[in-house]
Structure formats: C-alpha cells, structure tokens
C-alpha cells in the first residue's frame, strides 16, 4: 500500500520544483523599480481611505460552521457508500437515522435565516 504513495510523493516534488522554478525565473528576469506611489494598495487610483483591517459580516462565519458540520457528515457517508451493498437494509436504516438530525439542523438553520445573504 505504501507503494501507492511513491507516485504522489514524486508528483509533489516535481510540482514544487516546477512552481518554484517559475517564480525563480520571474525574480531573475523581472526588473525592480520600486517607489512609494507604485507600492500603494490599488484602489482604483484613490488613496486608501479605509484600512482593510476591520470587521466583516458574521454571515461568512455561519457558512463556515455549516461547512464544518456537513464536511464531518460527508466523511461518515464515504465508508458507508463503499460497503453499502454488504450492509444491506441495516446500513440503510442506520444512515437514514444518521441523516435525519442533520436534515433537521439544516432546516432549522434555513428557517432561522442563517442561510440568508
């Protein structure tokens, strides 16, 4: 089984070399003429009025929480799906009971407005 990972390791190393090589060539070939106006953050030609270091909407956080929960749900689905025929109806009922609370959770979130943008 570990032999499967030789290929992944090789492709990882080759990928890193390729990407770093591209950046390296760029650093060698590209000119460097820095001055402070050029280094300003790009805001359509205006001076930056508001710093990006501020607080943003909590909606993004709600999405991230739902994502964590349903990602965990998905990892319970994968091993079930692969052996689903062997487990037969027992496994099916198990996954139905497993899904039901999460469906309720999604519905609750939906009705409470956690999914509104």
């Amino acid at each position: 089984m570990l032999a499967d990972f030789t290929g992944i390791l090789v492709i990882l190393i080759v990928g890193i070399v390729l990407v770093c090589g591209m950046l390296g060539v760029h650093l060698l070939l590209g000119p460097r003429r820095e001055f402070s106006e050029k280094q300003e953050p790009f805001e359509c030609g205006e001076k930056q009025i508001v710093s990006p270091r501020q607080r943003y909407a909590v909606k993004f956080y709600m999405v991230a929480i739902l994502f964590v929960i349903f990602d965990v749900e998905a990892i319970f689905f994968y091993p079930w799906a692969a052996v689903f025929a062997e487990l037969s109806w027992f496994g099916y009922w198990a996954i139905l009971v497993f899904t039901l609370p999460l469906a309720v959770g999604l519905l609750y979130e939906w009705l409470k407005g956690g999914l509104e943008w």
Partner: protein, 167 residues
Amino acid sequence: MEVSAILFYIFAVMAVVSALGMVLNVRNTVAASLSLVVTMIALAAIYVLLEAYLIAVIQIMVYAGAIVVLFLFVIMLLNLREDDFAPGRQWLVKFGAGLLGVFVLIQLLKLVGPGLPEVPVVPEGYGGYRQLGILLYTDYVLLVEMASLLLLSAIVGALILAKRNID
C-alpha cells in the same frame, strides 16, 4: 534506515516546529493558525506512514480543510491581529507552565517506556474504508447516531450564539 523511518522523523520535526510556531507566535494570529495547518498536514503524513490511510485523508479534509478555515475566518472577520498579553508577572506564568510541561512530558514518557511489542505486519485491507465502514455501521452504529445528534446540537448552538445579537 529505511525510507519510511526517515520520512517519519522529517514529518515529526515539521509537526513539532510548527506546533511551537503556533503556540509561541504572539504577534500574528493568522500566521499562528497557518502553522497549525502545517502541523495537521504533517500529522496526516505520519498517519499514512502508520498505514491509517482513510484517517489521513479525513485528517486533511476535516482538520486542515475545515476546522482551521473556520479559525481563520473568525480571526479575519474579527480582525484580531495582535495578541495582547496582560501586563505583570508574565514570566512566572511562563516558567510555571514550562515546568509543568516538562513534568507531564516525563510522566507520559514513563508510562510508555520500553517494552512495547514489535510492530507487526498489517493484515490485508488495514486502514482502508471497507473494514472501517463495516465496523462503523455494525458494531459501532450507535456511536454514529450519537455523532449525528452531537452535530445537530452544534448547529443549533452555534446559530443561537452567533445570531443572537443580530436580529
């Protein structure tokens, strides 16, 4: 030494260094959480070397791909750049914590010590999804159902806590 052992030590050093980077980085919380990601990925690689393949993938998907993203989101949304240490007697706390850490580490290592049996050759299909799936949905099916209830309570709790003051 064989290749897998060398890889193990490389990833072990990576995990420890990035864990230290997470704990000791007081200036930049975003960088701290990113070094947590490196720890997670190094641990996933160690799981692969221990032939727990499915768990390794799940580790990357859930820990590195979901939980730390959630941390990053909160840090970025709340704009928590610097960590403000409370003034005074910091060194005492740090010294005490270090002492306690060394003590606990020695105790933990004493628990294991030498005398563990030789690492056996794994049976066919160890660490794959088939055996795990069958065990999970026969012997441990109650655990799975309880996990789902736990996740439901997490959804409801998070929604109530985070939404309360908006409406």
